[in-house]
Symmetry: C2
């Protein structure tokens, strides 16, 4: 397949046909009971695992991510599909508030209200480049939308077109084998911006889920907002994921933390939305030693090639931007690593960081910026300058004191997930997860794209007032 | 007070100062415990009731809504404030998901996650003209934002400026008496569009709640989306609230239903967001009799004056638009009623309605359009043409048959609240309520502006990963 070949891009007519099939399937699939949806999700997980030996090498060829990581990611994707099956079986998609009538006039008296949730309809799902399984064709967005009762039209990522097509064929086979309408799952292919725009503009698309760059996401969100009938756009965009260390923790555990952090910065060649991009340190000798150790570990690291030449060019431009900024010297300068980039580490002070908005932008790849601070207030000011991030990691907030409380408050205002120790890469798929933070890290910080609450994005409440007995018996679902 | 006097409009500097006070109060108020928030909400309810004898006459002078309605509305407003106090005391704002660590590697193993909710920050609240108490200064948006832990900056509606100021002074007095920062409650005044725009654009405003016209709401939403940091815009806009009758119900109860429906159409001079604007009837003799009875009841009705001359002009333009549309004859033509408009009733067929988008727009005031249909499919097509509404009312869906199911499915896809019998005016403030439907009736159909779930709009999840013991002990709230 040749991506520069314009025939790779679906035509508007092809996209319309795919969306029309999804729209035609929407009522039937919204009416599907828990067992039907769970069987589909489990069937997809089974099919994915059964095709492991062909899919993982394909994914490796297209992504350079390596079989170990890709096998783990396939496990995670199957776990996620089965997890949503379990949640649907437990009734999550059909939960309702039963508010019986109260006799008497208003305001205290009221009619009977049964508050149920209605699937939104066909969801356009934009796959990510950096997780060819877990945030792609059968990833979390697809799994959660199917759990909610919504057909999915996947816009495949052109960085892994063969894997996309193979996974989509597998999914279509499961849908067919289970006797569901073909439109429950559809695929749109294309490298041109116009393909995604046409999909988002289609009147039958009811919501968009997107994982990718800030620039691409913001542009597509604007398209969603500008429709005659605007639709929700659930975008996970760029994030710089600050790590903030308090003095005592570096004095006690500096070397071990430096090794762990270097591993997180270079993991997957830094191509994670939760990759730590800003390291906020006190201005003290323990931090000096920590930076020395971090620099040494990064210098030793040899990341693999990036996912696409375009992402590599963006990374090179990002680190070039740091180099061109006064007051941001290199500790580990990027060098010509051939196919793969080499890790980069720069250092600056809080005043420079706060005053330079360009330094708040994500540099996607194996690079981090150390920001030295002279007080807790300055660390809080750094967080406020960042504004929004998927994660903030705090090292050394185990003691309950005024500084810990101030840092935790600021971290909770900045991020969707606050970590106490560890590193932000690695996002557990579970009930307590929140993968989504204030702008610019995501477009709907009140929702998550990872974890069981991701399903809530695709359901809308409806209050049934004085519902007749037959409808109550059906749990408010007139299938 | 003279609204055409430009000194009525707050200057940008005045607005900035009001928002700055809210921002300064945000951390303190977010940290306020349930007892503190509940005491504020109850204090506001008490103060409102204590000032009833001065506020109700003021409201009547400015709104023409009459003391009976306004006393009831004040009761509802106090009930709502106390209801949110009770919900806060029950822990709603502080609910969290405790997801303990699971040993082992991913995907099944994971760290401990405590998923809590974080108040968004200062909320700009745009008061409505048509509910000078319940959707104004101390209405549901204010009560729910305060319950969530967010300061509120009210943009008063210029249709009732004296009442707005009196209520705001009362609120400020309660805030002060309870020792809370003054910025917990603020008021911005102005009749110019620029006042609202400046408020929405202020960087410290974290969310907007709006009840009003489609045109005004859509314009302000565009401003919220275009900010450097976009913020959620919770808008309740226009809605035409279809009522759909099946044949048997009109044959059995036609005259009584006609009287009830005429009362709903003319209630408050039709100035309710849930006022029934489209009546979908079968093409049969029982419907003919029903329309005769409805026309007679409407002809006898004598609504009071509308809230503002501008709203009256919009109503006159709306009914003139019907008159200018071929195939939409009057059954009750509007006449010159002097200060007050007279009710209007027009009739058309489904094909004309579906093919004429202008007929899908709300005409705010005492007017309704009868749409005659020849089949259930045609009634469903009428709903699909409408697209989004706060409510759909079904008469005669008590029997479980294919037609009932098809109508209920279409109604649930169109509306936030589906009524089985009765009329859509009257929105109970309770747990099961959903006041918000698909576009264009509201901007965030997944949220409600009435009922206890309204508080959820102003909270955002944060996952605390491996939270230290002290923070767990505080329920994830580092106050």
């Amino acid at each position: 397949m040749n991506l520069t070949d314009p025939t790779f891009d679906n035509s508007p007519e092809q996209i319309d046909a795919t969306v029309a099939a999804a729209a035609a399937a929407a009522d039937t699939y919204a009416a599907a009971d828990a067992a039907t949806r769970a069987a589909l999700l489990r069937g997809l997980a089974d099919a994915l695992e059964a095709a492991r030996d062909s899919l993982v090498p394909l994914a490796d060829r297209e992504s350079h991510l390596g079989p170990a990581r890709l096998n783990g990611e396939l496990d995670r994707t199957a776990f996620q599909l089965r997890g949503f099956a379990t949640r649907v079986e437990a009734g999550d998609a059909f939960a309702h508030v039963d508010d019986p009538a109260v006799a008497g006039g208003p305001p205290a008296g009221h009619p009977a209200l049964l508050r149920v949730r209605q699937p939104l309809g066909p969801v356009a799902m934009f796959a990510a480049s950096n997780f060819p399984f877990a945030f792609s064709v059968l990833g979390g967005d697809t799994a959660s939308a199917l759990a909610a009762g919504c057909p999915v039209v996947v816009k495949g990522h052109p960085a892994h077109p063969e894997l996309t097509r193979a996974t989509a064929e597998l999914a279509a086979g499961v849908v067919k084998a289970q006797g569901l309408p073909a439109g429950v799952f559809g695929l749109v292919e294309g490298a041109a911006v116009a393909v995604g725009v046409h999909l988002v503009q289609h009147p039958a698309i009811a919501a968009v889920a997107f994982t990718g760059s800030f620039r691409g996401g913001a542009a597509l969100q604007a398209v969603a907002n500008a429709r005659p009938r605007p639709i929700p756009f659930f975008g996970e965009l760029g994030s710089i994921n600050p790590v903030i260390a308090r003095p005592a923790v570096l004095a006690a555990q500096g070397p071990a933390l430096a090794t762990t952090l270097a591993g997180s910065i270079t993991l997957g060649c830094g191509q994670f939305c939760t990759s730590p991009g800003v390291i906020v340190l006190p201005d003290d000798p323990a931090s000096d030693s920590f930076v020395d150790a971090l620099a040494a570990a990064l210098s030793d690291a040899r990341p693999h090639a990036m996912l696409t030449p375009g992402m590599r060019a963006n990374f090179d431009a990002g680190v070039a931007g740091w180099a061109a900024t006064p007051g941001v010297p290199w500790r580990v300068a990027p060098t010509d690593g051939g196919d793969a980039p080499t890790p980069a580490l720069a250092v600056t002070d809080a005043a420079t960081f706060i005053a330079t908005p360009a330094l708040h932008d994500e540099v996607f790849g194996p690079a981090a910026l150390v920001v030295r601070t002279t007080s807790v207030d300055e660390a809080v000011a750094v967080l406020r300058a960042i504004g929004g991030s998927l994660t903030v990691t705090l090292w050394g907030a185990e003691t309950d004191d005024a500084a810990s409380r101030a840092l935790v408050r600021a971290a909770m205002q900045t991020a969707g997930r606050v970590l106490f120790g560890g590193v932000p890469t690695g996002v557990a798929v579970t009930a307590g997860q929140q993968h989504g933070g204030p702008w610019p890290s995501s477009t709907r910080a009140e929702t998550t794209s990872v974890g069981w609450a991701a399903m809530d994005r695709f359901l809308r409440p409806v209050a049934l007032q004085d519902a007749p007995a037959w409808l109550q018996r059906l749990g408010g679902r007139p299938c």
